[in-house]
Symmetry: C2
Subunit: 548 residues, 2 copies
């Protein structure tokens, strides 16, 4: 296996990164990134120059192919490997980034006159144009007591798949009618590799990911998508959306979606026939990428916001979870996704407000004892995801005095995100889902040892760190290898494969200090009483947000 490599295609918000990873040990032999020429389209529409509404965020699907081609060639060149050394391809993508296309795989927005219609363009995950549609979809689901609603903590999100579909039907019915295939961007890219690229794709070759479908499109293994009856109640013309406009089959991430076509191989500078894995959502790829293959190990992806994911053998419903999906992260498990809307960006906001650097603030905050000298914060600067699922909530500081210093606010905000994490862990445990180990990845752990120690202290648990700082892209590459594995050697276990390619750091483990953990117990109780969703604080926050 020394000469064998897997490629991970990691599609982010601004660019795609390609990793060339050695099968034997996960060594990254080469990598390259390429920004999308049109980036995030949130101001004016290309071609027409038309001004976009403030909550729009679009992309150009052609960018994904072009940038992937450049990054793929550059990465293999950097690794100095031969095209024949690549045995598998994995793909992760932001989600729910989705697009309308025709049955040959061509994005609608590339065909005039659709290039002049904003909702014919791919909508990026953070496109927020479908507020009314999200409300409608939730309202009808609640009225009909749809059984799938509880898998998502009782509420589906503004950024998900069907709100964006319904937005099109409501605002541009002609675009909706012209769409033969509604598809997640990750699934679309995989389709281009195994069947196209467009206009040579065959809709029968579409393999959709159970990850994207499960977390963003209300699909589950037992019952599939919501029923035509439900969709009809939402909007009569939506009744046949799945059967008529969402062709293809569903597979778990890492299951083989197909093999690279000659045309796609040429585009990417690779060999025809390489196995391609079913796609996965970017954050979720961080689970195998952090070397986690077992159940009950929570992977904390800590960045501007935080996403906490875990595989489990039990399926339980818990309030405010972003989703529990069979085969949602790795085949054979129930995948749990939970999240905190504002973590790194809350720290960034505060540092900007105080006009001080993170380094200054951290150095001083580290001198303070648990409790930040009497200041308690609520970390809901961008609303509360798990467990309250309420975007109208906001941040708060309590306990301010005339001697309160900047570092007290900063530490209080670090502690608040730790309390928010503990609440999530307790929510899962109370629902009967064991949470036994913690592995941190993402951008924050390396930047803030103080934050990691506070998390360990507040949880009262050890936290290990993902070895790779490219856990997401590495995860994609691992899935590419899994898709390839049956052909290059006897089928090993998932855990063996992941363990060979990704690990946690051995030199640094954050362990809780018992006295700090003890102090945080009562502080956490105070945080929880402030954070009561039926309490005065939450009511005031909602009313302040909803004022004209």
């Amino acid at each position: 296996m020394d000469g064998q490599f897997s490629l991970g295609f990691d599609f982010g918000t601004e660019s795609v990164r390609v990793l060339v990873v050695r099968l034997r040990d996960g060594h990254i032999a080469g990598q390259a990134a390429c920004a999308y020429p049109h980036g995030v389209i949130d101001n004016t529409l290309p071609v027409s120059g038309a001004k976009l509404p403030a909550d729009y965020a679009l992309q150009n699907a052609r960018d994904w192919l072009d940038s992937a081609a450049i990054a793929s060639k550059a990465a293999t060149a950097a690794a100095g490997i031969a095209p024949t050394d690549v045995v598998g391809i994995g793909v992760d993508f932001t989600s729910c980034t989705m697009l309308p296309c025709d049955s040959n795989g061509a994005p609608l927005h590339l065909k005039p006159p659709f290039d002049n219609i904003p909702l014919a363009w791919p909508r990026l995950w953070k496109h927020h144009g479908a507020k009314a549609e999200t409300d409608r979809i939730n309202q009808v689901a609640r009225e009909r007591k749809e059984p799938w609603l509880d898998r998502y903590g009782g509420s589906i999100g503004l950024e998900w798949f069907f709100p964006k579909v319904l937005e099109t039907l409501n605002h541009d019915p002609l675009v909706y009618e012209a769409t033969e295939v509604w598809i997640e961007a990750g699934d679309w890219f995989v389709w281009q590799l195994v069947s196209g690229p467009y206009p040579h794709c065959n809709p029968a070759d579409i393999v959709r990911s159970t990850c994207q479908a499960g977390y963003k499109a209300m699909w589950n293994a037992a019952t599939g998508y919501p029923t035509p009856d439900y969709f009809s109640a939402v909007h009569p013309r939506l009744a046949d959306v799945v059967s008529r406009r969402m062709p293809g089959t569903l597979e778990a991430p890492g299951q083989r979606a197909g093999r690279l076509t000659a045309r796609a191989a040429k585009l990417l500078g690779l060999e025809e026939g390489i196995p391609v894995a079913t796609a996965i959502i970017d954050a979720h790829a961080g689970v195998p990428g952090a070397g986690v293959a077992d159940e009950s190990t929570m992977v904390l992806v800590l960045g501007t916001s935080s996403c906490h994911m875990m595989n489990s053998t039990v399926e339980r419903l818990a309030p405010g979870i972003a989703g529990v999906v069979q085969d949602g992260i790795l085949p054979g498990y129930f995948g749990y996704e939970t999240g905190q809307a504002s973590v790194g960006d809350a720290f960034g906001w505060l540092a900007g407000l105080l006009n001080m650097s993170h380094d200054q603030l951290t150095a001083r905050a580290a001198q303070l004892a648990p409790g930040s000298g009497g200041v308690l914060a609520l970390d809901w600067l961008g609303g509360c995801r798990t467990p309250l699922m309420d975007g109208r909530l906001s941040g708060a500081f309590v306990g301010l005095t005339l001697t309160t210093r900047p570092e007290q606010l900063y530490r209080a905000m670090l502690e608040a995100t730790a309390f928010g994490l503990r609440w999530i862990v307790e929510t899962l445990r109370e629902a009967g889902v064991p949470v036994r180990r913690f592995v941190a990845s993402g951008g924050l752990p390396a930047k803030s040892p103080l934050l990691m120690q506070i998390y360990a202290d507040v949880l009262g648990e050890e936290i290990r760190l993902a070895e790779s700082d490219q856990a997401v892209a590495l995860g994609a590459a691992i899935l590419g290898r899994i898709a390839a594995d049956q052909h290059v050697r006897r089928h090993p276990s998932l855990a063996e494969t992941i363990g060979e390619m990704a690990r946690q750091r051995q030199d640094l483990v954050y362990r809780p200090h018992p006295d700090a953990t003890e102090k945080y117990k009562s502080l956490y109780a105070l945080y929880r009483s402030l954070a009561d969703s039926n309490g005065t604080m939450a009511r005031v926050m909602r009313e302040m947000r909803e004022r004209p």
Copy 2:
């Protein structure tokens, strides 16, 4: 009266200021200030150099005489008047600043070995060493259902007179036993003028102010000080504190306490025999100094903290008022004192935290609509005085998002102090005390027109401004004239006298904007629900404050 002047001695925390005021029109003909050589003694004790506890704040009584002498001579010189032109002297002083002395008027701390004992020194109003004693005094009063307790909103304060006396008895019983006269600093200074200076004072000449006694020593006109039974229940050796260690009579501010002795006249560079008015607390002097002589006009003294005072013909008990005292501010009225612990100092803290100037913040905050773009604050940075009387409460911000800017926090804090003021006004009105007009004085009104407009909008009432920026010292001078008046002309009404010497500005009145007032109604309701003293927020604040 053209050649007749009154002197106002205004004893602040760091210095004394003397105003020379023309009787005819209140014109300030000259003024001078002189800092106390020892300032605030809160670090080490002079002479011994002994380290003081953190909550101690002492002064040197000799400083008061020496600085007053310098300022008095400088002020009359600046005014270019003859000593014979001075017809009256008034005195205001911080309170409760108090001291132990002997029966000849000599401060105990000036006599060895007492100079080495911190509690033999004058204690400044903000000396906070008597926490346990305050609790004891309140607890016994509640258990015994002392009738005077309700005059103080149900609780007496840490900075008051008897807590400081009891502190001495508990910690330094020998100092307590050696004290022949416990006295307020304002009353002591008047005693020095009409009977001394020490060691020539006669205890029979002591005239204590009903203002200081009423607001800081649980005295009232109908029943006097608390009974020996009560004091005995607090501490057996305190039983005879009033009869044995607090000689003298009581008069309302402005009533004549006596005439300047030859020795005192020499000290101050004045003529013997000038009438001297009974003292008044500094803030309370701001009522006549703002040109307010009638009932139901609330004088807002806005500075680092705020004190809101009003004369009324009705006596009602209201929660959390600092006191209702007959003859407490002006003779013939019930004087109400209410307060907010942190106003200007909260704005100052915030500007420092944000590292921006008040001008910058104000300019940007003025662009925002009522509601500060969704941010709501609680203004209890130094606890809540009226109406909750709870020093364990603290400040808060609610409604923070990733786009919250410094000026939103700043405006929210301005608005919070306005809501706090409205709460006080409503508390009085609900108790049956009419509040009909508003006059602002102190340092803040001139500095922040935005603050004044917000106050007018939140109250839905006009706010006039005191004409003089020296309203407190001017008020003292007015009281000096009142003490003198019976000798220089037929006795005019109090209102006439005050009206001749102090007024409100005619060129600037803050009037409420009806649309802003309407918007503030619902915001005030939200503030009140956050500020619920039995609510979660208040409970969390108290627990955060009381943590080890």
